[in-house]
C-alpha cells in the first residue's frame, strides 16, 4: 500500500467518526462505568478521586434489601398481567382485524394511538379516572349506576394501587402487541388457510394447525418485548402513585431513581442496575431457549 492509498482509506473513517465518538462516550463508557461505580461509594458531589472503594458491599446490601425485592415482585406482577391480559387482548384484536373486517385500517390507527403518547401524559390523564373523590371518573360512574359502595381511592389504597397501575400500563401497551401480531398474521400466505379448508378443517382447527405454528416466532418477540418493556416501567408510576402507597407500587427503576435522587448513592443505584440487567438478560435467554425447544417438538 502506498502513501496516497493509506490517506485515502484514512479519510474514509471520517464518515463513521461522529457516530463512533458519541457511541463510545455515551454507550460504551457508561456500560463500563456502571461496573466501576457499583464497587464505589460516591455521592455525585465529591470529586471522583475521593470516592471510596467498598468492594462488593453494595451487592451484599442489595441481597438483603427487602424493598428492592418487593419492587422486583411488583414489576413481575405487572408483567404477568401484561403477558396474559394485555397480550390476549392484542391477539384477539389482531385476529379480528386479520379477518378482512370492515374498517380494519381505522382500528389499527386508533389502537396504536396510546403507545405513541408519553408515559407521563398517560399517567396524568388516568390520574383523573382513578381520582379518589366523587369527581374521579370511575367513582362518578360507579355512583351513577348504583355501585357507589365500590367507589374508593383507587391509586392510594394498597389493595388496588398496583392493579390500577397495571391496567394503565396495559391500556398504553396493547397497541404494540397488536401491531406486531397483526403484521405476523398478515404475512401468513392465504393459500394455507384455503388448503386447510379444502382438507375439511374448521376455523378452530386451521387456527391450531396453521396460525399457531407459523406465529411462534412472532409470539416469542412479543413476549420478550412485553417482559423487557414492562419490567422497566417507571414513567406511568412517576405520574400517578410515585411508588406509593407505602412502597406498594415501587418498581426497580423507581428504586434506582430513589437511590440517586434522595441520597445520591450512585454506587448502590449502579449495583441495582447490574443485578436488574442480569436478571432481564437471563430471562430473555431462557425464554428464547425454551421456545426453540418447543418449536422442535
Amino acid at each position: 500500500m502506498n502513501k496516497a492509498e493509506v490517506r485515502h482509506i484514512a479519510t474514509n473513517y471520517i464518515f463513521i467518526l461522529p457516530a463512533v465518538a458519541l457511541f463510545a462516550l455515551f454507550w460504551l463508557y457508561p456500560f463500563l462505568k456502571l461496573f466501576q461505580l457499583s464497587v464505589f461509594e460516591w455521592d455525585g458531589i465529591l470529586p471522583w478521586n475521593q470516592a471510596v472503594f467498598v468492594k462488593f458491599r453494595h451487592f451484599r446490601d442489595l441481597l438483603r434489601d427487602l424493598s428492592w425485592w418487593q419492587s422486583m415482585r411488583q414489576a413481575g406482577f405487572i408483567t404477568l398481567i401484561a403477558l396474559t391480559f394485555q397480550n390476549a387482548l392484542a391477539l384477539a384484536l389482531a385476529l379480528a382485524c386479520d379477518k378482512g373486517i370492515r374498517a380494519a385500517r381505522a382500528y389499527r390507527m386508533i389502537y396504536f394511538l396510546p403507545p405513541v403518547l408519553a408515559g407521563i401524559v398517560v399517567g396524568l390523564i388516568w390520574n383523573w379516572i382513578f381520582n379518589p373523590f366523587d369527581y374521579g371518573l370511575l367513582n362518578y360512574w360507579l355512583t351513577r349506576i348504583g355501585l357507589g359502595h365500590l367507589a374508593r381511592a383507587w391509586l392510594s389504597e394498597p389493595k388496588t394501587a398496583l392493579i390500577c397501575v397495571a391496567i394503565i400500563h396495559c391500556w398504553r401497551g396493547f397497541g404494540w402487541g397488536f401491531i406486531i401480531l397483526l403484521a405476523g398474521l398478515q404475512s401468513i400466505p392465504r393459500e394455507l388457510y384455503e388448503a386447510a379448508r379444502i382438507d375439511g378443517a374448521n376455523a378452530w382447527e386451521s387456527f391450531k394447525r396453521v396460525t399457531i405454528p407459523l406465529m411462534v416466532p412472532v409470539f416469542v418477540i412479543v413476549i420478550i418485548l412485553t417482559i423487557l418493556g414492562t419490567m422497566q416501567i417507571y414513567d406511568i408510576i412517576i405520574a400517578t402513585t410515585q411508588g406509593g402507597p407505602h412502597f406498594h407500587t415501587e418498581v426497580p427503576i423507581t428504586r434506582m431513581l430513589a437511590a440517586l435522587r434522595g441520597s445520591s448513592r450512585f454506587g448502590y443505584a449502579s449495583a441495582m442496575g447490574i443485578v436488574f440487567g442480569l436478571i432481564l438478560f437471563v430471562v430473555s435467554i431462557v425464554h428464547i431457549k425454551v421456545s426453540q425447544l418447543v418449536k422442535q417438538e
Partner: protein, 294 residues
C-alpha cells in the same frame, strides 16, 4: 347439509359481536383523550361538577394562561428545539456512518457495525445511572463557566448528545441495509463525473435513502419528544425543561389546577398526534424494522 339460513344468521351475529368488541376497545383508546381536551376548556369551579364531555362555554383562554403563566410556551419551544437538533444530528451521523460501513473500504468496519447492533439488543436498565455520573464528571450538569449563555448551551448539549446516541443503532442498521442495495454502477458514473466520496454520499446515496430517512426521523421524533428520565435527572432549570418535565413541575406546583394541567397535556400531545396521523405508515414500518433485528 344443515340449514343455510342458520349459517347466515350465525355469521351476521358473530360479525356484529366482533364489531362491537372492536368499537368498544377503540372507544376506550379515544375517550381519555377527548376527556382531557374537554376538561381543558372548563373552569376551575365547573371542572369537577360539569361531567359533560365538551363544556357549553368553552374557555379557550385556558390555553393562553397555560402557555404564558404556566410556562408551557417555554417548555414547548424547548421540546421543539431538543427534538429538531437531536433528529437532524441523528440523520446526518447515521447516514454518514451507514454509508461508510456499506460502501467504503475501512478495515474493522464490521466489528463497529456489530457493536452498534449489540447495543440495540442488550438491555442495560442501569445505564442512566452511569450516564448521569459521566455527565456530572464531564461538567455538563454544572458547567460553571461564569457566562450564563454558555452554561445553558453546555447544559442543553448534555441533554442532546446522549439522545443522539440513543438513535444511532436503529438508524445505522436501517440505512446500511438500504445503501447495500444501491447498484455500484450508479456510484461509478458519479465518480466519473467528478464527484468525490462526500459528493457521492451527498448527491447520490442520501437522496436515494429518503424513504428510510423518513422512518428514522419519525421514530426518533416520537422518542425524543416523549423522553422523560434524563430530563428529570439533569434539567433543574425551568427555562431548559422540555414539555414532559414541565408537566410534572406544573403538577407539583399547582396540584388542583386541573383545567390548566389538561391544557398543558393537550399542548404536549397535539404535535405527537399530528405527526402520528400523517406518518402512520412510516411509524409502523419503523417498528417492524426494529423488530426484524430481534
Amino acid at each position: 347439509m344443515e340449514n343455510p339460513i342458520y349459517y347466515r344468521v350465525k355469521k351476521i351475529f358473530s360479525s356484529m359481536f366482533l364489531q362491537m368488541f372492536l368499537v368498544g376497545v377503540a372507544a376506550t383508546c379515544i375517550f381519555p383523550l377527548l376527556w382531557m381536551f374537554g376538561s381543558s376548556l372548563k373552569t376551575q369551579s365547573t371542572v369537577f361538577s360539569d361531567m359533560s364531555l365538551f363544556p357549553k362555554n368553552p374557555h379557550w383562554e385556558n390555553y393562553y394562561i397555560a402557555w404564558t403563566k404556566g410556562e408551557f410556551g417555554v417548555y414547548f419551544f424547548n421540546s421543539v428545539f431538543y427534538t429538531a437538533v437531536t433528529v437532524v444530528c441523528i440523520v446526518i451521523f447515521t447516514s454518514m456512518a451507514a454509508y461508510g460501513i456499506s460502501r467504503l473500504r475501512m478495515p474493522g468496519k464490521n466489528i463497529i457495525f456489530y457493536a452498534f447492533l449489540a447495543a440495540m439488543m442488550i438491555p442495560i436498565p442501569g445505564a442512566f445511572v452511569a450516564l448521569y455520573a459521566i455527565l456530572i464528571n464531564l461538567g455538563f450538569i454544572n458547567p460553571g463557566t461564569g457566562v450564563d449563555l454558555l452554561d445553558n448551551v453546555i447544559k442543553r448539549l448534555g441533554y442532546i448528545l446522549p439522545q443522539i446516541n440513543q438513535g444511532l443503532s436503529l438508524g445505522i442498521f436501517m440505512l446500511k441495509t438500504f445503501f447495500d442495495k444501491i447498484p455500484k454502477d450508479l456510484e461509478d458514473s458519479a465518480r466519473i463525473d467528478g464527484c468525490g466520496k462526500f459528493g457521492v454520499y451527498w448527491h447520490i446515496a442520501l437522496p436515494l435513502a429518503k424513504p428510510a430517512i423518513a422512518v428514522i426521523v419519525i421514530i426518533n421524533v416520537l422518542y425524543v419528544w416523549n423522553e422523560y428520565l434524563l430530563a428529570m435527572l439533569i434539567l433543574t432549570d425551568k427555562s431548559l425543561m422540555p414539555l414532559q418535565r414541565g408537566l410534572m413541575v406544573f403538577q407539583g406546583a399547582h396540584m388542583t389546577q386541573y383545567p390548566l394541567l389538561m391544557s398543558g397535556i393537550t399542548i404536549t400531545v397535539i404535535p405527537i398526534i399530528l405527526v402520528y396521523l400523517f406518518m402512520q405508515r412510516q411509524i409502523i414500518t419503523g417498528i417492524t424494522a426494529g423488530m426484524a433485528k430481534g
